[in-house]
Symmetry: D2
Subunit: 324 residues, 4 copies
């Protein structure tokens, strides 16, 4: 029989659409299993400062459709110190909490891993980040919404590109990963997608721009934030090669993190929230819960954190074929 | 070396968002491989009547974001007769077409299977239907858009449900399959999801409605079209049990088929369109191309047509847990 | 100097997008003017039962973008009785409330008018209804959102109509008024718009359907709920005249009331909420505040309630011209 | 009787959502009145180069919902020279065109005014610009869509602002006018709106930011492009005053021009397109057609071009009141 009687949930790192759906699933699954549940405000900072409040089914009513996180989130510095973590543990002890669920990305799981070992404390992680750059899961919560947001924005930009026969260079989020750029790039019919994982072949891009001029009135180059050049430089290079082109740059920025979560993100968040609580009850700890090949799968924090190249080469090839 | 030099593409059955993205991918992949490509108007009817026009890269410019199908679609009756299929074959022969790509659902592949065997003709199918009720692929083109459309509609209905403390019974598409109801139901936090694949436990539903009254100001029951009762009867049953409830019915109807495709549907359609042409060139025939576990996979028409229960029991359980 | 020190706000009748923006504006304008402000739950029912809670700036944080009404709404029966209104007045007296703001439609203002005279109590009304069927204002709060919702839904339906060469008959809200049907009909390029205010000329409609067959692959007839035939009968008539047409009906239903308010509705609700409180402070009573020709304008409840024909004949003519 | 037998239509300047709806209305109204109609490609450039094609009802089928302009648009330099205009006139003469309709903004009407006088040629203008900065009309085609696009983007940004307790400075389009910033600012509940028409009172803004800290977890400052400081500098000033605030900047950029037009923009474009053709037929020339107080109104190009301050002081006051 499970010894888990009281758990807490927090969100940490950058916010991602679907975090609220995950919080809701955690809270309701806990209640379903007669486990008390607390919400920690502002990520690990709230653990350290003791901003921890009891939650019930009503606390999470009507939030499944909302972007952001009702628990708020920060990138905590105090939790990175031993003193901070000791305070956090004391707060947890005081309330009798015997399990923790953390929703976030790479940094969140690093913190959870350290804390879990230090105090021998059961923690399960949920992948909540728009970047989709975690091993151990095919998709992270927030990724599907983010690529749809990018797609909708570029659909709008294309109207102008079409009307003015322009080339647009669009820079999207992804400091270390081109996954947002790659899928959204395919979805909007990009001429080329520049991502940090693959070396850029400017000759090929220029050749293609030249060739497609007749067939296409709008041409869009997607650039991941982590590209070594970045959107502005890419635009300059195109301009240098084709001075007669009307080239514009658009850096999409913060709209990519927000918005109401897509259906896929809500379902994913609900599944993982349920499985996180069930995992804790079954005695799991130090693991992230994700989906692989359609099924729920757990993997140790160490494996989730380690960045594995998730770029699907079938997708990069598709960009080349379809930009004809 | 491939003998495929000239192919045709058509859409058949009910339209689905992403069909245009699939057509675009087929046309551009053909051109990329120096294969000529024709578009057949109005599904199999166009094959029979000879409404077949040459396509080029420009024919499919600026369509990736559009719902419906530029090739139009009908449910053909003439193609179901031997005479019709003979005419179709003659038209194909006349133009020198040596391969066919059909985008549609169950009925589409049945026709393709018969025709392919009858005339020993190479055909590859793409799963294009909002119902997601085909074996051989985890997702069909159009499904993700449809569940997002349902979700958006119910998010709107919930505003009214919340404001008036109402119970809403929402009926969604899916004559034989509850897959639309199930995922969209989770995404909007349904109290219960009634689908043809699972026997309905009205006692449990009534009990839950009674229990959740305090925690929830809006309560929504999702009903698949294929449910043996249907939305109106379900509402009457609730009303009979709880006469003081304000119960309303909404049958979402035709909006579920249209709209601009989601990012996932555009990427899926692009991948499958590319792989369909590549499959033909590699000598494949009589197969549907889908995705399984994230990878492209081919399966014989017979296996794709045969309806296999795709209901994920993890998802049905989630509905119960999260409706607390 | 104003004698208004404490006011209450409520929403009544059917919910409409922008009601929350109006509540927010009322609350913040009261605070800005050092007036205490209370929120009444569930419309006039809450007045009768005493469900009245104090509100502050934080009560209305983060609601401007939400559909429905956080104060909830019912169509009250008790307030229609003298006993009910006496109870309501006693509750108001008990809290020392000296002014009331009601957000709703025709029925809401009728109640306000009776109550205001009966107890000589200052009340200002805000037009909150998707129907736009009130005199004294060019637009009601919720109308712009509703016509955009209808338009988005029909844009989706058109994808299917185009793909299948269908005629769609779409029935939209408006029991007494064709204003939703008329504007949304123009926005989606309807062949004809059938509204209660204008006698239907079926001969002209049939002639047009016949003529436009060649130029248009999708044809849509908009029908207001208040049309004497209704969508189903209209479809039957078309089918009887043109048996070879593929005619479908879509009744949009409850999605039309919800959704996040449009920019125009939020701005309108904000302006009217500010002006309602300012009006009360200036000593106004028994009036509805609206916009006319771009400016805020007050009119007595009697004049607002009286239904005046607001159908712009320029718009009905446009439907005829543009359906060529 | 009218002497107008053949007209041409063009779009010029920056593209705006609703231009296609306007083109559609012009073409269909011409046909309705038995007037032949031509489309000029790429604005005045197309007049000069003779890129002029005949249009019919089918040319404008299925475009009412599309952003951008199917006729394309450029900012022409050749038309600014006498030689260019002579060529344009010769092309018009060659085709027997006896009336011209131009859709665009300030620069478009300046060109039309010069050309119309120079060759004594009948021209009617339609206000097509997202900036709403033209006299003679309450609203320009594209404005309503643009403010809704800004609102939707900031609704997304607010999710992140809420989750991280951040202050966001959002810069929106409007080089000479704060109209986009003002209305969209009210719609998203901005703390302050900085526009070129009104001197910025930084002391008041800082004071408000300080005061609202407790009531609001997200605070957003809207800045029009034409503000003398601009978004980046505004953010620096806030940061300098409140170093402990987490302040971010978002420059929305090109997404503001595109997207499918709102209902209001489609109806406006339809009305003005009809009235433009009717005006030409009635013998009008050298005028822009707009709406004032809900009715169609014509005004001479000179009056439309002259920038009159359209800032509604009721709206600026509302920002102050509601940011409590």
């Amino acid at each position: 029989m499970s010894t888990i009687k009281k758990i807490a949930v927090l969100t940490s790192g950058g916010d991602a659409p679907g975090m609220n759906a995950a919080i809701r699933a955690v809270v309701r699954t806990a209640i379903y299993n007669n486990v008390e549940v607390y919400g920690v405000q502002r990520g690990y900072d709230g653990l350290v400062s003791g901003s921890i409040v009891e939650m019930n089914a009503k606390s999470v009513a009507n939030i499944i459709q909302r972007g952001g996180t009702i628990l708020k989130t920060v990138r905590s510095s105090e939790f990175k110190t031993k003193e901070g973590r000791v305070k956090a543990y004391e707060n947890i002890q005081k309330l009798g909490i015997d399990g923790l669920i953390v929703i976030g990305g790479d940094g969140t799981f690093t913190g959870a891993s350290v804390f879990g070992k230090e105090f021998d404390f059961p923690i399960i992680g949920l992948p909540g980040t728009i970047d989709n750059d975690l091993s151990g899961t095919d998709y992270t919560i927030g990724y599907d919404t983010a690529i749809n947001t990018v797609m909708d924005a570029v659909d709008k930009i294309r109207d102008t590109a079409e009307s003015h026969d322009r080339v647009f260079v669009v820079e999207v989020m992804g400091r270390d990963s081109g996954l947002i750029a790659l899928r959204s790039g395919i979805s909007i019919g990009a001429e080329a997608v520049l991502i940090p994982e693959i070396e850029v072949d400017y000759d090929a891009i220029m050749k293609r721009l030249d060739q497609t001029r007749k067939n296409k009135s709008s041409r869009i180059i997607m650039v991941a934030e982590g590209d070594k050049d970045g959107g502005l430089v890419v635009a300059e290079k195109i301009k240098a090669k084709f001075p007669h082109y009307d080239v514009r740059v658009s850096i999409l920025g913060h709209i990519q993190r927000g918005g109401k979560p897509s259906c896929m993100d809500r379902v994913l968040a609900s599944r993982l929230g349920v499985s996180a609580v069930e995992g804790l009850i079954e005695g799991r700890r130090g693991e992230m819960v994700g989906v692989r090949g359609g099924d729920v799968a757990y993997s140790p924090f160490e494996k989730s954190i380690k960045h594995i190249d998730k770029i699907n080469t079938h997708l990069t090839k598709i960009v080349d074929i379809l930009s004809q």
